[in-house]
């Protein structure tokens, strides 16, 4: 690990330590009651004690998130390919992709939950709807952002449509795709949690959002915090994971992933 990378890890960790320390001090010094703001120590204890409950819930949320991310990638890339195949398709359907993006998921989640029998499937559909757009938009842009000179080169060498797609368009689109993937991974998690909040009231879910709701009804504030911490950590891990994936795929050649110029 280089010094630079070390700093990138150590500095945020240090900030986290300071904040957690201040929080602990504030709660103890001012004697804040646990049902208002639990101390970090209490949250950590809850996390350990309720792990059988929270860990299982985390797995459910993770499953929904990853399934949704997988579906978004599959659907988003397919749609992007369709868009670049013909301007007609794009003109006809792009507004609906935008519609997808601007419709609040809480407004349509109840409908989807009623329509789709399987609770997991309905949650995955909601989260996919939330996470889909950045993949479509970025991949479409990427597939279109092909260097003009390289395009001429392929044309002059009589490359087939397939050769141009595989050897030129797809590699050109990769950096854009990974940019979209990073955004979508966070959105998939948010979608999974929000959808479960909506569904959770119906008693179908067992994920982290459901645990937060239940803990809320029982005024079990430490457990609420513990679940919240798990969601946040999951989000950060997902983001880092997508970053690593992008680095692995582009590291050797793309500017965004190479430190030296």
């Amino acid at each position: 690990m280089t010094r630079d990378q070390g700093q990138r890890l150590l500095l945020p960790l240090f900030v986290a330590l300071v904040i957690v320390g201040l929080w602990q001090w504030w709660v103890t010094a001012y004697d804040i009651p646990q049902f208002l703001v639990p101390s970090p120590l209490v949250v950590a204890q809850t996390l350990v004690m309720d792990w059988s409950l929270l860990g299982a819930a985390l797995l459910v949320t993770l499953k929904v998130t990853f399934l949704a991310l997988f579906c978004s990638v599959l659907l988003g890339v397919t749609i992007a390919f369709a868009f670049v195949q013909s301007k007609w398709i794009e003109t006809a359907f792009f507004p609906y992709a935008v519609l997808l993006q601007v419709t609040p998921i809480v407004a349509i989640a109840p409908l989807i939950i009623i329509w789709v029998k399987s609770p997991t499937a309905s949650l995955v559909i909601c989260a996919t709807l939330v996470a889909l757009f950045p993949i479509i938009a970025n991949t479409t842009l990427g597939l279109r952002s092909v260097n003009r000179g390289l395009q001429s080169l392929f044309k002059m060498n009589r490359a087939t449509r397939w050769q141009t797609l595989v050897r030129l368009r797809i590699p050109s689109a990769l950096p854009y795709f990974f940019g979209g993937l990073r955004i979508s991974s966070g959105l998939a998690l948010i979608g999974a949690v929000v959808a479960e909040f909506v569904a959770g009231t119906g008693g179908t879910g067992t994920g982290l959002a459901y645990q937060i709701l239940q803990a809320g009804y029982q005024l079990n504030i430490p457990r609420m915090f513990a679940a919240l911490v798990l969601i946040t950590l999951t989000g950060v891990t997902l983001f880092a994971l997508m970053g690593a994936l992008s680095k692995w795929a582009l590291g050797s050649w793309h500017e965004s992933e190479t430190n030296s110029i």
Partner: protein
């Protein structure tokens, strides 16, 4: 001149872009096998337009262009091939230099062993044999341009079209690449059409310079460069060189004065 035997024949070809820009008035130009012809002119005079039409990347709006007696787009059947070198190196950043140079062969479906051997030869020609496994971003601008030239030579073309290939490079690198290009041209018996802004580069390289003018883009004069001495560093500072340079400069100046009068 007999257009049947010529490498490139441009007959009253002109170009109006779809947006109405009349980029090029009718041009007549014949390039013989083995010639080094330079298109020289100010920005916007249609040099790239003309070159792209010869390459078959653009269709002329009127007139005819033939390369070895065929339309540029019918070259697939011809044995002789043409290659294009762009202003930028236009290498694929995700592929190593070797893979970049191999691209035209890959697209033709030539088997890997043959292709690799030809790539090795092409890289040797431009002095990059040690960099086959490097990524383009690890190379300097001049080295990237060399890789681009290697890629254009790997198909063993007879006609090389170059659109300001060294325009973005410093003068020292440019001069060295000019020399390398000249020796390639001689040793391989290439026919070259070369685009440049630089009067000095035009004199140094060409057997013939086609002087062009802008607004509207057109050819105004052709100047044969037939030095009595060898083309080397001494030639660059000879009176003969200066004479040609002055002739080209006057020609360019006259053209722009005419335009200014017409606009006034």
């Amino acid at each position: 001149m007999n257009s049947e035997a010529s490498a490139v024949a441009v007959q009253s070809a002109e170009k109006t872009y779809p947006n109405g820009t009349h980029a090029l008035l009718p041009v007549n130009l014949t390039v013989q096998q083995g010639e080094f012809v330079t298109l020289l002119g100010p920005s916007g005079c249609g040099k790239s337009t003309l070159l792209n039409m010869v390459a078959g990347l653009l269709e002329p709006s009127a007139g005819r262009i033939s390369v070895w007696g065929e339309s540029p787009n019918a070259q697939s059947q011809a044995k002789q091939r043409l290659s294009f070198v762009f202003q930028e190196a236009t290498l694929m950043p995700w592929a190593r230099v070797g893979a970049n140079v191999r691209l035209p062969l890959d697209l033709q479906g030539i088997n890997r062993a043959d292709a690799d051997q030809r790539v090795g030869n092409a890289l040797k020609l431009v002095g990059l044999e040690k960099f086959a496994e490097s990524y383009p971003r690890e190379l300097s601008g001049g080295m990237q341009m060399r890789a681009s030239i290697a890629r254009s030579l790997v198909t063993d073309p007879s006609l090389l079209l170059m659109d300001e290939p060294f325009g973005a490079l410093d003068e020292i690198t440019r001069n060295r690449l000019d020399d390398e290009l000249l020796s390639l041209w001689r040793s391989k018996g290439l026919t070259v059409i070369f685009v440049t802004h630089s009067i000095h580069e035009a004199v140094y390289l060409s057997s013939r310079v086609v002087v062009m003018a802008a607004r509207p883009g057109r050819v105004i004069e052709e100047v044969a460069i037939t030095p009595t001495v060898a083309r080397d560093d001494a030639f660059r500072v000879s009176t003969e060189f200066a004479g040609y340079a002055k002739q080209l400069q006057d020609s360019l100046l006259r053209a722009s004065v005419n335009v200014d009068e017409a606009l006034a």
